[in-house]
Symmetry: C2
Subunit: 148 residues, 2 copies
């Protein structure tokens, strides 16, 4: 484990807004506590990174590997109309990549989700169900090897 | 050149909203005709792709390679506060990745740019200047090799 990984701490705002599901080889996997959309966030566990290009090339390749694995599985498990994948970070500087499952019937369609409608926290039952589905994706990734 | 590359045609809405700057090994490089923000779009020249994970793994790696090269250079040449990198595609299905240079003083900060304010087309003088800067980035990428 290198120094930047040892020094990694999740941004407090991400920690407050999300549920920690587990870890891919590079990224922490979070679930946004917003029942409007199934919405996961990947956070590379590297201190100080705020842009994708701050990561070394082999970690960028691992990031897109984990991101595509997550996006495809979210798409299939939640029967998405479209996946929205984005690294924005104007408010939370720590590099994090949104993966939002979109439906034509959702609260913001066809606009992007950021700032569209207030977050609606999951009920306990809803959370149990969605969290389980995302955990199944993560468990399916146990065979995922570092691309590097 | 494989079949999916031969069959590639730029989506008409992207063609109407953007200026074609040139081509990276995988992606077409477009400049959005919106003077509110320096805003480039990468479109992998592969027919039928609507999600990043639709590309074969080696093309995904080439995509992040070109994306990071573009993002870092846009950041430096335009002195960005933050780069916003996103594949959304709710309205234009063809896979395309936004690279938006953001400033704390811009028209939408800190919100994302989509739907924030109407596009303001460049004047001829503005376009000449911005286009030149983006062309310099593309020319600097002549040495860019396929990651695959």
């Amino acid at each position: 484990m290198d120094e930047l990984e040892l020094e990694f701490e999740l941004d407090p705002r991400l920690a407050a807004d999300c549920i920690h599901i587990g870890d891919f080889p590079l990224c922490r996997l979070l679930l946004m506590n917003d029942a409007n959309y199934p919405w996961c966030i990947l956070v590379p566990r590297r201190a100080g990174a705020t842009e994708i290009y701050h990561l070394p090339e082999e970690e960028q390749q691992q990031l897109i590997h984990e991101s595509s694995f997550l996006a495809e599985n979210l798409h299939d498990i939640f029967a998405a109309r479209k996946m929205n994948v984005a690294a924005i970070g104007n408010m939370v500087a720590q590099l994090h990549v949104h993966h939002v499952v979109r439906y034509e019937s959702d609260a913001a369609w066809p606009a992007p989700v950021w700032g569209a409608v207030p977050a609606r926290p999951y009920s306990e039952t809803e959370l149990y169900e969605v969290k389980h589905k995302v955990e199944v994706i993560l468990n399916g990734a146990l065979a995922l090897n570092r691309a590097s």
